[in-house]
Symmetry: C2
Subunit: 315 residues, 2 copies
Amino acid sequence: MRDERSITERLRKLAVIPAGSPVIKGIGDDCAIYRPRGSADDLLFTTDMFIEGLHFLRETHKPEIAGRKALVRGLSDIAAMSGTPRFCLISLCVPPWANTKWVDKFFDGVLKMAAATGAIVAGGDLSHGESLFCDVMVCGAVPRGQAIRRDTARPGDELYVSGLLGGSSLGLEKMSGKARTRHLHPEPRLGLGSFLREKLRATSAIDISDGLSLDLQRICLASQVDAAIIAPPCFAGASLEQALHGGEEYELIFTVPRSTRVPNVFEGVRLTRIGEITRAFGSGGTILLNSMPLEPLGYDHFRQPGTATRRDRAV
Amino acid sequence: MRDERSITERLRKLAVIPAGSPVIKGIGDDCAIYRPRGSADDLLFTTDMFIEGLHFLRETHKPEIAGRKALVRGLSDIAAMSGTPRFCLISLCVPPWANTKWVDKFFDGVLKMAAATGAIVAGGDLSHGESLFCDVMVCGAVPRGQAIRRDTARPGDELYVSGLLGGSSLGLEKMSGKARTRHLHPEPRLGLGSFLREKLRATSAIDISDGLSLDLQRICLASQVDAAIIAPPCFAGASLEQALHGGEEYELIFTVPRSTRVPNVFEGVRLTRIGEITRAFGSGGTILLNSMPLEPLGYDHFRQPGTATRRDRAV
């Protein structure tokens, strides 16, 4: 089996977008961008699966927490592109072990997060199956032409990250203390996403769903640039390894023009300069950590066992 | 476990849509309706799961056929609300048995149907898991305020159905001949959907995904009306039972004002008057077949075994 990137790349090449299409951006960013006829807004669309045994275990995730997390994944993609959530669709395949109470509480978790962020639950699909499987589509709006993309970072831009990294991986490992809370209750950085567009004029952004190393590489590959970074700020107790490669952080990586004044803190979340974008040596995607090449070891669902450290992200 | 309708109904009540929201219609129709700021179009959104063992078996469905069918389910919802497909998002969880070739051919099936209907593949999500699970979101456009809904049928309206029914169930049972083709290659009635809006001024419509009896009841419940019908036209070899309750037909049920002239055939597909909408005796949802009550035995994922004939829709 090829890796996720090569499957996606094949699909991207085959899924031709005709000239003049209202689809402004298809496969290859956190969200697709659609431009409704005559509208002042562009619409952002993202879909994320949430699978038992892979993204959560029922032993550690209460149903409300699972429901909340299932929605956060998409909300974080909307944040990364600087959108405001509008609505969501929830597909849920219910396994034999989940009774009515579990399903109700799962949806309570979804609904609470939806209400807090404006992502109205507008529909979905229900089914029975062998294991719990959920897929959440989130739509967000952004002023026309102003979505922040991952393919627009430029050499010379400064590179920032929000929050402290590695906490989610640490929490998954330990299942105790603040790291556990961090793992179970991620926050989509929606306010920060809007701030990046309105005040900082960020040139690119992505959310950390699969690990800083892998998600930063996605910016670099899409923008055909390289990056040079220092160690990111670590969550208390987390290793540098966890901060560099740990997934499910839902913090934002973003780039700004060199002269931009970025505050140290936004809405209680640290913003830290971790490096800069550099001209691509080859076709782009090379990241140097303290001048040494950094392998993108973040989570790839399709990486073959043995070709890289496959962290156990099954949660 | 409660039935699908009661789970959906609870969710519909809790998923409050604030006044002035761009979400014009949330849970409760084939698609959600979203009105983009300043746009001449409303957008339709639907999401449908496509699950191994439930919606298809790999023994009978080649990967291209599975991919095509996964997309048809949503396209049919867009047709029922009279929309034109714009784009789709595909989430796919790949099981160990599916190799790269299978995945490529699955996407080839999706892409071919997408190209034929204008539903650009604009994104999605990929993952590994125990069994094949797919969820497809389709977006369509319709002129502002002109989507055909299921909650707007009125007493006195005439009731029609497209095509010949029962063929998909028969094909599933026999896996031979024309019925097999019918089962494996359903057609979304997109041209008919537009015709219903532009020429017939249809008052309501729904697609037959779970069976005529159940889907017609959905129109009646949503519109708070009853219906009186005669036997629908049957696919050659299909039983009346299959025509009344068989799912995965993807034909359209629609209502028109009494005086409307409906052609016998549209784009090669028969249009047959099967009855009329009547004033609700109670709160609506009662269907009489030749003056006898017709039970909605179509497919409900959450119906308890024993409470009704549970047809094996696992395909």
